[in-house]
C-alpha cells in the first residue's frame, strides 16, 4: 500500500502522457484530411481533383462526330492516322461552342515541321527540301492536306 503511495508521482506522470496522447488524437483528427489513407499514404480526394481538370484537346472522336466529310477524304489518304488536332491544334473550346472558329494553320510552317528532309528522320518517312520542292509555292496549291497524294487514282504520293 505504501509502495503504491510512494509511486504516486509515476502515476501523475503517466497521466500527463495519456493526456498528451488524447490531445494528439484530437489535433490529428482535425489536421489530417478526411480522405488521407483511403488508398494509401496520401489524400485519396486528390485523385478526383486531378481527374476533374478540363481538357483542351477534344480528341479525334469528337471532331469526327461533326466533320464527317473531312473524315471521308482523310480516311482514304496517307494522313488517315494523323489526328485532326495534330495539325489544327487544341480545339475543345470549338467542340464545346462551334461559334468559336479555329484559325487555319499555315501550311508552310505546318507541313515543313514533319516533312523537312533531315538525316535524323526515319528513312521511310516522306521528306523534301522545301526550297527545292516547291520554291515557296504554298503546299496546299498542289496537295490536299487531308489526303496529300497528288493523284488519288494512281496513288502517287507528291511528297517523297
Amino acid at each position: 500500500m505504501s509502495a503504491l503511495k510512494e509511486a504516486g508521482h509515476l502515476f501523475r506522470f503517466a497521466g500527463l502522457f495519456v493526456l498528451a496522447f488524447l490531445v494528439f488524437l484530437v489535433v490529428r483528427h482535425y489536421v489530417v484530411p478526411k480522405s488521407f489513407g483511403e488508398y494509401g499514404h496520401y489524400r485519396g480526394a486528390a485523385i478526383g481533383e486531378i481527374a476533374a481538370r478540363s481538357v483542351k484537346f477534344a480528341g479525334h472522336q469528337t471532331c469526327e462526330g461533326c466533320h464527317t466529310d473531312i473524315l471521308d477524304v482523310k480516311s482514304k489518304g496517307k494522313h488517315a492516322h494523323v489526328n485532326c488536332e495534330a495539325c489544327h491544334g487544341a480545339l475543345a473550346n470549338h467542340a464545346d461552342d462551334p461559334t468559336i472558329k479555329p484559325v487555319l494553320p499555315d501550311t508552310a510552317v505546318l507541313c515543313a515541321r514533319c516533312h523537312t528532309a533531315s538525316a535524323a528522320k526515319p528513312k521511310g518517312f516522306p521528306q523534301v527540301v522545301p526550297a527545292d520542292h516547291s520554291g515557296g509555292v504554298p503546299c496546299e496549291t498542289c496537295h490536299n492536306p487531308h489526303s496529300p497524294a497528288m493523284d488519288a487514282n494512281n496513288g502517287a504520293g507528291g511528297a517523297k
Binding site: Y39, I47, K56, F57, H79, S118, A119, A120, F125
Partner: protein, 243 residues
C-alpha cells in the same frame, strides 16, 4: 415474357454490370471509371518518331506547362560507329519547335521522346516526406499539389529527370499521363497530337489492348532497367546508347 423471381435475381445484376460497362466506354464524362480496371503505361516506338515536337507543344498546351519546363521532351541522339558509349544528344527547348536539319554524314541519328515512366516501384513517391506524391490504384504517378511542400526530394529522386518545381506554384510538377483525359475515355494530349503513332497510351489490365501482342513480338526495353523502378514507358527499338 414471364420471369421467375429466381431468373430476375440473376438477370438484374447482370444487366446493371453490362450497362455500367457501356457507360464507362463513352468518351464523355465517365462517372463509372473504375480505377481497379486499369493499369496505365505508354508505348514509345522510336523508329516512328520524326522529332516534330508535336507532343511537347500539345503537352504544354493541355497542361499549362511553363516555358522552359517540360513534362515530356524529345532528345536527338547522334551516335558515331566508333563511339557507341558517348553519343551526342541535343534537345533544343525540349524539341518543342523541332530540330535543326541533320546533314547526311553516315552517322546514326534517332529521336527519343522522354516523359514520366509511371514506375510501379517509383523512387520519387518513396522519398516524399508528407505523402503528397503517390501511385494511384490505376498505376499513374500523381502529385497532390495542395499537399506538396516543394522540398524537391522527389525531383532529385527521379532517375529520369522527369520532375521540376513549378516556378509559380512552387510545388513539384510532372506528367500526369493526362489523368484528366484518360479517366474520361480520351487518350493523352501527346498521343492525340503525335502524327506518326510513335506514342501510344496502353492499358495493361485491358486484355484487348494491342500492347500485349506488341510486347510479345517486339524487342522492347525500359529506360534504366537496372534501377528496378518498374518503369511502364516501354520503348520499342531503343538503342543501347540511350541513357
Amino acid at each position: 415474357m414471364n420471369l421467375s423471381r429466381r431468373q430476375m435475381l440473376i438477370l438484374l445484376p447482370a444487366a446493371a454490370v453490362a450497362w455500367k460497362a457501356v457507360l464507362a466506354g463513352t468518351p464523355e464524362d465517365s462517372p463509372n471509371y473504375a480505377m481497379s480496371d486499369h493499369w496505365w503505361g505508354m508505348l514509345i516506338d522510336i523508329p516512328k518518331c520524326i522529332g516534330c515536337g508535336n507532343c511537347v507543344r500539345a503537352c504544354q498546351t493541355e497542361n499549362d506547362v511553363p516555358d522552359g519546363f517540360f513534362r515530356t521532351w524529345v532528345e536527338r541522339y547522334n551516335v558515331a560507329d566508333e563511339n557507341m558509349t558517348n553519343p551526342t544528344v541535343i534537345s533544343p527547348d525540349g524539341g518543342k519547335e523541332g530540330f535543326p536539319v541533320a546533314e547526311e554524314d553516315g552517322e546514326k541519328y534517332f529521336f527519343v521522346p522522354k516523359m514520366c515512366n509511371h514506375c510501379a516501384d517509383s523512387p520519387c513517391t518513396q522519398v516524399c516526406p508528407v505523402g503528397a506524391t503517390f501511385i494511384s490504384p490505376d498505376g499513374v504517378v500523381l502529385i497532390d499539389q495542395s499537399y506538396c511542400l516543394g522540398c524537391a526530394y522527389c525531383v532529385q529522386a527521379c532517375p529520369y529527370g522527369c520532375r521540376y518545381i513549378h516556378p509559380q506554384k512552387e510545388v513539384a510538377d510532372k506528367c500526369t499521363l493526362c489523368y484528366h483525359r484518360i479517366t474520361k475515355g480520351l487518350t493523352t494530349a501527346c498521343c492525340e497530337a503525335c502524327p506518326t503513332g510513335a506514342r501510344q497510351l496502353v492499358d495493361l489490365k485491358n486484355p484487348n489492348d494491342p500492347i500485349h501482342e506488341f510486347l510479345k513480338t517486339h524487342s522492347v526495353q525500359v529506360l534504366k532497367p537496372q534501377m528496378a523502378t518498374g518503369a511502364k514507358a516501354f520503348y520499342n527499338g531503343l538503342d543501347g546508347s540511350v541513357r
